[in-house]
Symmetry: C2
């Protein structure tokens, strides 16, 4: 089984836990709708790659961690798309969850996916209770307040934004969770893995800004120009397109050199390079919107 | 320190964890707004009473469990009050969170409180990692899908409602969590504590139906007649006021006789009786809304 099949199976198995027995059918269906087909599954791919670089001695724990992280990411997309935030009509090329199922079920889908993420982590506790608890703690800190993606979204309601805290929590948090949870899954200490996650997060933010500035909504499968529209800070506005691309390259080099010493270090560096190529937008005159 | 002070302190300490360091100020304030001053804190009171009846040998774990359960309850109130659900203007005698802070921060407040609940449980893992994991698992099952309060709310979007599953998940789930998490906190197996929680939950549902039918919104501090308005099933509509009161008394007797054998059994029975008196509405002609 390849890496992407392994991750898809972990996510599907996790969602199934939330659908057993007598359950309301539409909310049940919405959990699947919100999580499949996946996007790039970039966060669980990083998590699993780090775990493998560290030996992956408890693959069931790694799979639970990868699934939990992806569920949180999917939950954040569902809630961010709500009318009171981005009011996005589409996501991943299909109607957003609130457009397909209505707003009440979209709120509940996000809530249920958040809860399910922690349930999945607790279920592997019999294999190693302290790893399970460390995973819950790390995921919670990177998801909630004061330093997780909830905080990141919360900054957008402030009259004055602390830009560093904003980017770190809004986009960086789940990438830091990815590298740290990968290390924890394989029995390693998470601290020295924070920098890699933070740098990948910065790279992703710049790449997202570039995509948002350069691509049309059909290519992206979601509305473009959202940052402009909502007055959010943006690397392209700050540095220009060429400057933002240079910045992206610099950050990714830094990410690779920050990889802690581990058995699978070379392979992990290769994975980061591959993700980097995926992130770097292909700039052609056709993709520039004036 | 009395029981209610102990619980208030546990909740306040838990909320503080979500507010440390550099955090968006309004969301931070909303976490406090949504959790204080508390209502009756009935769920954590039951949880702590059960733990004490079982010896309460790890009071820090009990406090974490009580706080986590109350955070989930508060989160559910914030999300249930949103315009797409009950659209409630008031809660506990003050503006609902979305009226006070706006809808985006209300969604994020609920999300953050859910995440914080699991963080609080993971933080006590060094004291006893398996109790911590069991608490995460039990709280998640009673909060999410397919059997928790998210499922309960999800049933309201179905064309046909499974009434037993609806009541069990909508109101019962967090009372079952209360008794089971109390037992787990004190190192006991949770299974035999399910019935007590389920019965208290049924009693609470009937009492809530009675209050909803009989009281005005000023007495309740929240809008009344919501069940009628939203077409939700209701014990008063089914049995009449006197029938519903008889049913409440029966359920509470059943609850008391279901208490498992434990060192503090008598004291726990007394607590359930006291909660019962609190629940049973005082019926006078003035409180009847003809």
């Amino acid at each position: 089984m390849g890496l992407s099949e392994r991750i898809d199976k972990a996510v599907t198995d996790a969602v199934t836990i939330g659908q057993g027995g007598v359950a309301p059918r539409q909310l049940s269906a919405a959990l699947t709708y919100a999580t499949t087909p996946g996007g790039a599954r970039i966060r669980p791919t990083i998590l699993t790659s780090v775990a493998m670089a560290c030996g992956d001695d408890q693959p069931q724990i790694t799979d639970a961690a990868a699934a939990a992280l992806e569920l949180i990411h999917c939950a954040s997309l569902v809630h961010d798309d709500l009318p009171c935030f981005d009011d996005a009509a589409t996501r991943r090329g299909k109607p957003s969850v609130h457009r397909a199922y209505g707003e009440p079920l979209a709120v509940l889908t996000g809530d249920s996916l958040i809860v399910l993420a922690f349930e999945v982590l607790a279920k592997v506790a019999p294999l190693d209770p302290m790893r399970s608890a460390q995973l819950v703690l790390t995921l919670a800190r990177r998801t909630g307040m004061p330093g997780g993606i909830c905080a990141g979204q919360g900054w957008e309601s402030e009259p004055e934004i602390d830009l560093r805290a904003y980017h770190r929590s809004k986009t960086g948090a789940l990438f830091i969770a990815a590298t740290q949870m990968g290390a924890i899954s394989a029995g390693q200490e998470p601290e020295e893995w924070e920098e890699l996650g933070a740098r990948i997060g910065e790279a992703f933010q710049v790449a997202d800004d570039l995509r948002d500035a350069l691509y049309d909504s059909q290519t992206l499968g979601k509305p473009v120009g959202q940052d402009d529209l909502h007055g959010r800070p943006n690397a392209v506005a700050e540095l220009g397109v060429d400057g933002a691309i240079r910045r992206l390259t610099d950050i990714l080099s830094g990410a690779i050199s920050s990889i802690p010493s581990c058995p699978g270090e070379a392979k992990l560096a290769h994975m980061v390079r591959m993700q980097a190529e995926r992130l770097t937008p292909v700039i052609t005159p056709a993709t520039r919107r004036a």
